[in-house]
């Protein structure tokens, strides 16, 4: 098993944290994992992305040119990474703020209205967990329970009362996807 994922969007959308939670979930499942962020001032706006590789074998390069799965959360990232999805791979995107939809027909494209779904929670911070839920429904690379363990490690203890809200957001994301 090997899954090469890129998650890309605006700084502040929770792109890096989402990758981190996925990475910790992989750790829980005894998988090999690398988490390689675009680091620097992107964290304060602009585009941010992270490459997460999960594998049952040792991982050589943490830097990749093509991906099994791309999770795309803004137009710039779609323009940049649509062509980088391997044929037969998966592209998941949120149509919020997207004015040019994906055009490739040799990959599996899923539109997930995660931004809209945050309105149900009246909490914009649930956004990346809704997206993560959608990703896990489409590409079940790690089980939900491992993700919750990962989340517990990433969230500082003072935020642990939010674990349940996060679980709801992930579940919501899963429900948004009809396979």
């Amino acid at each position: 098993m090997k899954e090469e994922i890129i998650i890309a969007g605006f700084g502040g959308q929770g792109v890096l944290s989402m990758g981190k939670i996925l990475a910790y979930a992989a750790l829980t499942d005894n998988l090999e994992v690398t988490w390689m962020p675009s680091y620097g001032p992107e964290q304060r706006g602009g585009t941010a992305n992270v490459t997460v590789i999960l594998s049952d074998k040792q991982i050589s390069s943490p830097v990749l040119d093509t991906f099994d799965t791309a999770v795309i959360l803004n137009q710039q990232s779609l323009d940049k990474f649509e062509s980088k999805v391997k044929p037969g791979g998966t592209l998941i995107y949120d149509s919020y703020g997207i004015h040019r939809s994906p055009t490739r027909t040799d990959i599996n494209v899923y539109k997930v209205d995660a931004m809209e779904a945050t309105f149900d929670f009246k909490n914009a911070k649930t956004y990346n967990m809704i997206v993560l839920g959608a990703l896990l429904k489409i590409r079940p690379v790690v089980p939900l329970e491992s993700v919750m363990t990962g989340l517990k490690k990433v969230l500082p203890a003072r935020h642990h009362h939010l674990l349940d809200l996060n679980r709801q957001a992930i579940t919501k994301g899963m429900d948004l996807v009809k396979l």
Partner: protein, 361 residues
């Protein structure tokens, strides 16, 4: 069972330093290595092992604190990134001349000048050829994984004390910023004053009545004595060259071509090599782990077997000079590099390889 943890390379350095029993860390924040100092501040080792963690007023101050601490036989270190390490060169020359053990971490970023904050390997010359003044070298370790970022702290100090020399860990923004699995070394206490007195009889620790004062100085106005000092340094360097060459080989047994790359870029090359092998192109990889002393013998040996060598580095061509010296003129040695903070992906490496070796010229 050993606990497997997930962390950034920079964080691993901090954890490993506390566990090794380092006595002091002196540093000044700079991207992409600020997490070393930040993690140490979070770990608060002054409350557990008694390790000193100090944010100096500048890199110049930090390296001179290292110089002072090392003179007393303590295990002391600093970390910085390229522009900051340039500021430390004077101090490094003094520490090398004083024959003092210390660990200096450079998580390289794009230069020259203030440059960018993104990964680079453009400080190879500075690290391996003596960036400061005078005829000196120190051991340079090039980690490629987060595990090595942790392991080379202990290895670095062991070598530093064995040969009484500074050791540099030459990393880059990729391995500093990426997270992967790591098993941290076991924790051990810092050395006692008694142990330091036994293991470092040269240290300036306050003179007991039974011995002569230890004097550590890099100033010697008698040039004949300074030549003697230099001969002694060179003897140490020869010994290090004989004993401490380290490298890793991948797929070299049947290789028709060779890639030489160090640090995290070697991993990008390894992926390119794996992809090439699926298409029947047999490339091998040598990853120098010590950049000084340079693994010239293995490259010399392999240059007798392969058709050509590609040196891949995040610079305009630095390590290639050492590779060429080892390979003599036996085979063509070409370079591929990206500059200023750009990281090539495996396909770019493969394209560069094909361009240099497989296209009919």
């Amino acid at each position: 069972m050993e606990e497997v943890r997930l962390m950034k390379g920079n964080e691993a350095i901090a954890h490993a330093a506390v566990r090794y029993g380092v006595d002091g860390y002196f540093g000044y924040p700079i991207t992409p290595q600020s997490e070393v100092l930040e993690t140490l501040e979070e770990l608060m080792p002054w409350e557990t092992t008694g390790m000193v963690v100090l944010q100096a007023e500048s890199e110049v101050a930090a390296i001179n604190m290292v110089y002072g601490g090392a003179s007393t036989g303590k295990a002391v270190m600093t970390s910085s990134s390229s522009p900051g390490v340039s500021l430390m060169q004077e101090g490094l020359s003094y520490i090398a001349a004083g024959e003092l053990p210390a660990l200096v971490v450079n998580v390289m970023r794009g230069g020259p000048g203030l440059g960018t904050i993104h990964p680079s390997q453009a400080d190879y010359f500075q690290a391996t050829k003596g960036g400061g003044h005078g005829d000196y070298h120190f051991i340079v370790l090039a980690p490629a994984t987060v595990q090595e970022m942790a392991d080379f702290v202990g290895l670095g100090f062991d070598l530093a004390f064995k040969y009484r020399t500074p050791v540099m860990m030459l990393a880059d923004g990729i391995v500093g910023q990426m997270m992967e699995k790591v098993v941290l070394p076991p924790a051990r206490p810092r050395r006692t004053e008694q142990e330091i007195a036994e293991q470092c009889p040269w240290a300036v620790t306050g003179r007991p009545e039974w011995r002569k004062p230890n004097v550590l100085t890099t100033l010697e106005l008698d040039s004949y004595k300074m030549e003697e000092n230099n001969r002694r340094y060179q003897q140490t360097y020869d010994l290090i060259k004989r004993n401490e060459v380290r490298y890793k080989e991948y797929h070299t047994e049947d290789a028709e071509y060779l890639i030489v790359a160090f640090g995290s870029i070697a991993r990008i090359c390894l992926k390119a090599i794996e992809d090439a092998r699926e298409r029947g192109i047999k490339i091998g990889l040598v990853r120098p782990v010590t950049l000084w002393p340079f693994p010239e013998e293995i490259i010399s040996e392999l240059s007798k077997k392969v058709k050509g060598i590609l040196v891949v580095e995040l610079n305009a061509g630095q390590m290639i000079e050492d590779v060429r010296m080892a390979a003599k003129d036996r085979v063509p040695v070409y370079h591929f590099g990206r500059l200023g903070g750009i990281v090539p992906n495996p396909q770019e490496v493969l394209d560069a390889f094909e361009d240099r070796f497989l296209k009919s010229k």
